[in-house]
Symmetry: C2
Amino acid sequence: MTVAYDGTDFGGFQVQKDGVRTVQSEMEGVLYQLYQQKVHVECSGRTDAGVHARGQVVHFDAPDNRLPGDRIKVAFNSMLPADVRVNSVRRAPPGFHARFSATGKEYRYKIWTGPVLPPLLRNQRWHHRAGLDAALMREAATHLVGRHDFAAFAANPGYSLGPTVREIHAISVQRKGHDLEIRVRGSGFLHKMVRSIAGGLAKVGRGDLSPSVIPRLIEAGKRDGCVPTAPAQGLILWSVFYGLPITDTLP
Amino acid sequence: MTVAYDGTDFGGFQVQKDGVRTVQSEMEGVLYQLYQQKVHVECSGRTDAGVHARGQVVHFDAPDNRLPGDRIKVAFNSMLPADVRVNSVRRAPPGFHARFSATGKEYRYKIWTGPVLPPLLRNQRWHHRAGLDAALMREAATHLVGRHDFAAFAANPGYSLGPTVREIHAISVQRKGHDLEIRVRGSGFLHKMVRSIAGGLAKVGRGDLSPSVIPRLIEAGKRDGCVPTAPAQGLILWSVFYGLPITDTLP
């Protein structure tokens, strides 16, 4: 299934112990209604509280074949709250797994650079009052593209880390009026990696970090105070790729 | 002052008896902090619960000249909740009144015509699943332009009505992907008039009302069941004009 959500009122995608509202719990609630039993939902990658999704991908093992995809989609969209929607449902090939079968992902990070953040965008933008030099940000981004150890752009120490090598296929930085959008496409992402990239690029854009420092940060292979994590609400999981050719150009 | 707000969590612009949250009460709360006395805020026209504004105009009589406009703007934006923002503040000419000095207004009404309403737009669109024929809607709109008695497009009977003659300068209907936007510019508007126009045009667009019926509805001069009121969340008060030439072309 492809799933879109407004992350504002969710404590992230994944079910949590303290009973906070999550996308997964809403979806599993619908599946319980449909199949009268607990059906587990697996996503392509968890999103944190406040992070949005346009094309999250989710799979579940249907207990039976009673319901066709279209019927499941309609059922979800009539039972889910309006801040989560199912855009498509189809039968997956045997062995498909939303997370392990994914070959790549695209995230977008949006920054509002105008003096006043429009109220209707307040949960969907990082409001960054300082001017940002997009050309400097693009220069810094070229150093991030490729296969690297991204430990310097992963969540802070203390968070348990596995292997930290990932491949970024493309990054673009585009300005449209007061909006500045960073698009990042890659094989996979560490926890808070896109928000750390956005935070680092913004620091470059306002002149507080030279683009040439990026290779040294990557080289160092550990997080330091120099890379801030941009706030959750500017981030959107745009799409997940499965075995399709991944282009290294971004519009 | 020009003011933008997300109408979702407000019971409209105007202060109400039952203490519901309103834009006016938030703004007067800030003015009380600034001037240590009750200062009344007057707007160009009330908006209903759920209706948004990009360019609402508001005036107040400052008790003193201590604070320059820029300082007032900063004070408002630091004290207001994030769903209301002040975009500009300037000293008005003597006798200026946000409502009585206004010579025209533009409203926009947005309809989502795709099968699934994106969660991030859920409070900013009317979700209209049936296909809408924009050409038919434009034809119907031509009959609304001009100086007419708009009683047929005003709030339902029971609501006290004054004179119901208004002038519409221009209406445009534009499609962009799944979005359909109706822009209406006019001298002034009756209560729920733009939402009634949007409801009527949508009915035309889905083939349930002929464009040629519009002149007869206007002629009849009273509301009948044939014109539905479109829901509040699709509407945005776009801008208010003061003495500036009003063009009759809309992009």
